[in-house]
Homo-oligomer: 509 residues x 2
């Protein structure tokens, strides 16, 4: 096998050159053409350069979804710097650990997250921070009080270069930084376009967090395809439905809980259907409830189920629109660049027979080369190019994937991954806790919510409330157990390993 | 810059697996699904394997556009063999030279070209040949009298591997084999889809020769995109118009002379417009006459002008549909993977100013790595990744390319490239010819036709007819000068170089 290197003209710069007056980004009342976006990006890049940002700099970004966020993502590309998007829902402790672990040299934040950023910088002394100006108030300056450097900006993108380090916990519960290259974004975007079709008139609604791959990937598709995006800071069913009905949105990415609320909101307004301009509702973030899919089929909502993860740069397996009814409940088939196989859980060297569940493995140019600065974790997860997702699924006789569990123990709450191992680690850090176990239970609104069980040390008098206060300081809100139960023993198998699936049996009701 | 290697699941096999019952290919009354095509390809590949075809084998293909042609193209991919498509319009002498130059190990041909193939094999003793069976008569055997080998077929495509060696004469007039990799096909197809849009329901009409890149690229797009093609053996305006009007063709590739005939045929039937299902008429093969473009604009024919060459694997610069009126006459802008620059003709190290003509250079992953077995020609044409096309053009202030001349001296006759240097070389081989010069003159039907001028040796009595008979045996019909004039002197510049553009002044009228 020979090797090739592939360098492409910078995606945004090309759009600004070829489609200068095409709408790039709409956010609230603001509409930026590709030319507008390019100007903002150039200015921010030159300011960041004067702050010392250059090739390989790791820049943490803590900001709400908005114009500044998008500008910053593209500006880092022009400098060859690496974006480390921070999950704004994390606790301060989690954030401090992450910027330290990645050795970020600069923390860029917006006004809204200035207080949190100040706390982080106090806790991590080697870190400096820079404030993104609110464009509405301060149109001339993107970064507060920083001059424009006079450095050449990059005009090309090397597909092999790292664009982003995005933290995810994986099966172990220990957060790790996934390396996301420009090539992964490219191949994911192309695989998606070949599957869903592509029109230069597409308009993609982004209402998912941009610090997750599902949101960030939309920003990349915009400049790769040269299409418009409508960005909303937070998911709001009414705002989403308005955009779909009034703004000619053609594609939207959602998770199940969002889609449920969108349909409910549509009902409240007495509308049965979306306009036909909406051609694709890309539904990710874990297995979707069958009743929801059936309702969408009844109402002609063009749902396209998809399965992907941070390590696969969003979509890896997607149900073609033409199969959405025939294969209801399936995540579909691998996108063009992707290879998929299901291996037996106990014998990972043997493929699982058709229809039998096993572990999902993925390979292809949209799969991460590994975890930053963690060669052992990389070697464990990726062998011969095959990524073990840890997720469980099976293939039907036509080769369609059905995902049964996003990692046997993973809790997915409102589309967010919650790792039992992380909750357990926090509880075990409490001096009175001897053993801890966490799992998810069904929840009408969020799909699942986490709960936890602990066994206290002998003679301990800690209460459930004490433990809850302890966890509150250390865990993001959405990871916080709905309840913490004190029990006499946790279910363990013969080898002494915690059997999380048996935890719900300990519930007192 | 780091390097990456990219391997994709075999394009056709993937289509057969994912869209088995989708129409792949319609030819006359025959309709093959992707599953049908896959079966035919598998069988032919196993037969070719039993004839010794394997990795890197160079296989010459001499056949009419049809089911067998398509089958053979894909079958060679399964064996890692290299396709050398022969231009069926070449003279026997030209064909013999080409199969010898490329060191083809096997000549595959259909029934129609069996007599020509037999002559070639007699002239090139180390060559063996194999006959493609007529499917209509002999559905069970693809290759006459060859068993199926039991070898594993390739399931993957390495983008860096050579798919095709396609001969082109370039500026020198000496034919050279252009290396066409799978990656070039891939990037060309993706660049085209991002520009034109892509729908899984597209149907591409192929009525251009498959031995040229413009035709062959359609076969590749079909399996990369997973779309249908309608294949017609020869261009026939009535058949093309019928397919567009009755068969839901969405895209067609043509050269100007074809489009003129299509419109004339439409007029004959009293039709003003094509149905709106036809969304793109991709117009290549040299600068288009402005009156034709204006007529298309009047009649709402969705013409998309394009500029490309064998070395760029078809389209490299294409006018976006939205610009077709605003930039009438322009070939458009580079497709996403392509870089373009115009350098001064006399000072190739200096860019030509905006609006000033110069030589067109191209760079990108769809550009050939070079000419097979000709390192000097490769080094001369490609420097630092930049291919000198030899074509002349300029960029307007918005960066749109206007092509003035397909290589200053190149003659384009009915979409076929005719190289003056080759005509001259043939005439100079005649014992009575001292000097020769060839050029094109305008022609109502073909755009241009070649004519030639010769100065005879002293005391020679050869007539124009003698020279014409001599050339007839050595040149393809379409390259044959319409007239050969005997003159006293040829126009030469100070350095003694033939000035071909002054040749028409020697015309006796």
């Amino acid at each position: 096998m020979t090797t090739t290197e592939t360098v492409l003209p910078d995606w945004l710069a090309r759009c600004a050159q070829h489609f200068p007056s095409h709408l790039a980004l709409q956010y609230g009342p603001t509409r930026w053409t590709f030319s507008d976006l390019e100007q903002q990006v150039t200015r921010l890049a030159l300011q960041l350069a004067s702050a010392g940002v250059g090739e390989g700099s790791r820049i943490a970004l803590l900001a709400a979804s908005g114009l500044q966020y998008v500008t910053c993502v593209h500006a880092l590309t022009r400098l060859g710097a690496i974006l480390v998007p921070l999950n704004t829902r994390l606790s301060q402790q989690e954030l401090c650990w992450q910027v330290g672990d990645v050795r970020a040299s600069l923390l860029v934040h917006d006004e809204q997250y200035a207080p949190v950023a100040a706390q982080i910088v106090r806790a991590v002394p080697e870190l400096v921070c820079a404030t993104l100006a609110d464009h509405a108030q301060d149109a001339e300056l993107v970064l507060r009080a920083l001059p424009l450097a006079s450095v050449p900006l990059r005009a090309f993108i090397d597909l092999a270069a790292t664009q982003v380090i995005m933290y995810t916990s994986g099966t172990t519960g220990q957060p790790k930084g996934v390396i996301i290259t420009y090539g992964m974004q490219w191949w994911s975007a192309i695989g998606s376009a070949l599957n869903l079709g592509h029109s230069p008139d597409d308009c993609w609604l982004a209402c998912m967090p941009l610090f997750h791959i599902g949101g960030l990937a939309i920003l990349m598709r915009s400049v790769i395809y040269g299409i418009s995006i409508i960005l909303q800071e937070k998911f709001d069913a009414l705002a989403v439905n308005r955009a779909i009905c009034e703004e000619r949105v053609t594609i939207i990415s959602v998770v199940a809980v969002m889609l449920q609320r969108m349909l409910a909101e549509l009902d409240e307004r007495g509308m049965a259907h979306y306009p036909t301009s909406l051609r694709c509702v890309l539904l990710g973030g874990g297995p979707a409830p069958l009743p929801l899919l059936e309702e969408c089929a009844r109402r002609n909502v063009p749902v396209v189920q998809t399965y992907g993860l941070t390590e696969s740069c969003s979509q890896a397996v997607t149900l073609a629109p033409t199969d959405s009814l025939r294969k209801l409940g399936s995540a579909g088939r691998p996108l063009l660049p992707v290879q998929l196989r299901i291996m037996q859980d106990e014998r990972p060297d043997l493929p699982a027979p058709i229809g039998e569940p096993g572990v999902i493995y993925l390979k292809g140019p949209n799969i991460t080369p590994g975890y930053v600065d963690r060669p052992e974790a990389t070697a464990q997860a990726i062998k011969d190019g095959w990524l073990s997702t840890g997720d469980i699924g099976y293939l039907d006789e036509d080769g369609y994937l059905y995902v049964l569990d996003r990692r046997s123990d993973l809790i997915i709450s409102g589309g967010e991954n919650v790792y039992p191992a992380q909750i357990e680690a926090v509880l075990l850090a409490h001096p009175d806790v001897e053993e801890a176990g966490a799992c998810g239970i069904p929840d009408q609104q969020w799909g699942q919510v986490p709960i936890a069980f602990v066994r206290l040390r002998a003679r301990s008098t800690a209460s459930s409330d004490d433990l809850f206060s302890f966890a509150t300081q250390r865990l993001a809100r959405y990871k916080l157990p709905r309840a913490i139960y004190i029990v006499d023993a946790l279910p363990r198998n013969g080898a002494g390993k915690l059997v999380r699936r048996d935890l719900p049996r300990l519930l007192p009701f």
